[in-house]
Symmetry: C2
Subunit: 302 residues, 2 copies
């Protein structure tokens, strides 16, 4: 699992930074999380394959989190996309996209599914062989969700040196062993799976929380995640403004990370009022050790 | 009058070039012509003042010509715009913008006027003290207009050395002289204006034609314009594709420029299939001498 930042700044446009958008790479799949304006330019810049994205998650319907989506969806038509695309977003986005396709006379040539979100409690919205996605109810000026992406446990690894000591274990049985099954010999003897295989690497988890006021009741959902991206629009000196605009400070993001005992905190969604983003890391690091600053083009291994 | 190119490429996104968008500077005013995605990033990059734009002209409702508009209009709210904004665009854009403002709960704090275009013949859509704007009916896959912007004649210039020879011409009379009036002395003697003033520089004109199939019937509208921006999506080797997609080739753009006897032709809206844009200039220059290639950040004095 790898997190690629396409954009991590708040709405005010600048020529060098982009609004919220990121790619979570899981195995061979790319999940797109939020799609601020210019997102497809960033996809090109960082050489992500447009066609590899099947699932798109939009946290909320403020422009700096989705104005880049319609351009990307139009480009998929241009480049001959045939595979389906799924969009998980609050109610309203479907109407916005469909109206634009109607008026621009855009006939998309791929199946496009909208999964409209409106629940106020956490819900699982996607479940595949490899991972699941669950919403994290956030509190902002408009209906907003974060997203929790959890890998499923991988198959166990063959301890091939041990396996080779048993000639009766033929290769057809390997897949069963990887699935955790014991091996039963023809004479009924059982060779326990634990003797033949090694545990897989622990499944990873990633949580995306933007935009939100300080909301400690999400902590149980974030418990022990490997990587937490939490918005930090403001510094503590502007905590009143954060509360008023329903955003968080770097300190508050760190408090969430500490309470949830996450392994790594990445801060983003920075307001343009601060000239130096290292201030966010400095403020958060008083409360939580392992903190990083998001930046366009940066990649975080989960 | 100056033309600033913000974007001049066709729809396929790239990380270094942008879709159609440009600024026409007339005196102290900036006119925005088309607004492809990323337009506001380009405005920032080339240091154009967001607040100086009052009139916005959208040629047609294909995404590469307007997907950047809603972000720009949202930013105006963020930066506290109070002055009115006028948008001249085909029917449909108003609905698209309004739906997005409704769903994103964006309350703009400035008056926003939509002037919806649907005429199939040329019409004057704006008339100010300094300039007028007239549509140029184009033919594309969707309803499309080009725009012809004509400066009004400036005031005549005082020939101050001559004026000073007549002590009876006091400064209060200067404005009348600049307007072309003769000076009448107290004794009834008339000093002809031509003796006292110099002609102003001739008014300039600019025509924007994108997107369109080769359409020679626009030539009379373009007659003698100082600068013509004409789309050249394709080279002559792909003229069948140009006809099919209702675009022009560089050669066809040059034919229009030659027939209209314009002073300077700028080509733009290049397809991404050609690695070298100088090919467009080369092709056009066989037919028309004064041809340039548009490029992001480039400025053309009219």
């Amino acid at each position: 699992m790898k997190l690629h930042i396409l954009g991590c700044h708040s709405a005010t446009p600048r020529s060098t930074v982009f609004p919220s958008s990121q790619i979570l790479e899981i195995g061979n799949e790319l999940l797109l999380i939020d799609a601020g304006e210019g997102m497809q330019i960033q996809l090109r810049k960082y050489k992500h394959k447009f066609n590899k994205i099947k699932h798109i998650f939009i946290s909320h319907l403020h422009g700096d989190h989705f104005y880049g989506l319609v351009g990307y969806l139009s480009t998929l038509r241009l480049i001959g996309r045939e595979k389906e695309v799924h969009i998980y977003a609050p109610i309203g986005l479907k109407d916005i996209i469909r109206l634009q396709f109607k008026i621009t006379q855009t006939d998309i040539n791929y199946p496009l599914y909208f999964h409209e979100l409106s629940a106020s409690i956490s819900e699982q919205i996607l479940d595949t062989d490899k991972f699941s996605v669950t919403t994290i109810p956030l509190e902002h000026r408009i209906y907003t969700n974060g997203f929790l992406i959890k890998e499923k446990p991988a198959l166990r690894k063959l301890n091939i040196q041990v396996v080779k000591q048993f000639p009766e274990i033929e290769t057809w049985a390997y897949h069963h062993l990887k699935q955790g099954k014991d091996f039963v010999c023809d004479d009924g003897t059982v060779i326990p799976n634990q003797q033949l295989t090694l545990p897989p690497p622990p499944p990873k988890s990633y949580a995306y929380c933007s935009d939100t006021v300080y909301k400690p009741d999400i902590v149980p959902l974030l418990k022990d995640v490997d990587l937490l991206y939490h918005e930090a629009t403001f510094l503590d000196q502007h905590k009143d403004l954060a509360a008023k605009t329903k955003h968080s400070t770097a300190k508050q993001a760190a408090q969430i990370a500490r309470a949830a005992q996450v392994k790594h905190l990445v801060l983003g969604h920075f307001s343009s009022r601060y000239p130096d983003e290292s201030l966010f890391a400095k403020e958060a690091s008083h409360i939580f050790d392992n903190v990083s600053i998001a930046k366009e083009g940066k990649c975080f291994e989960v």
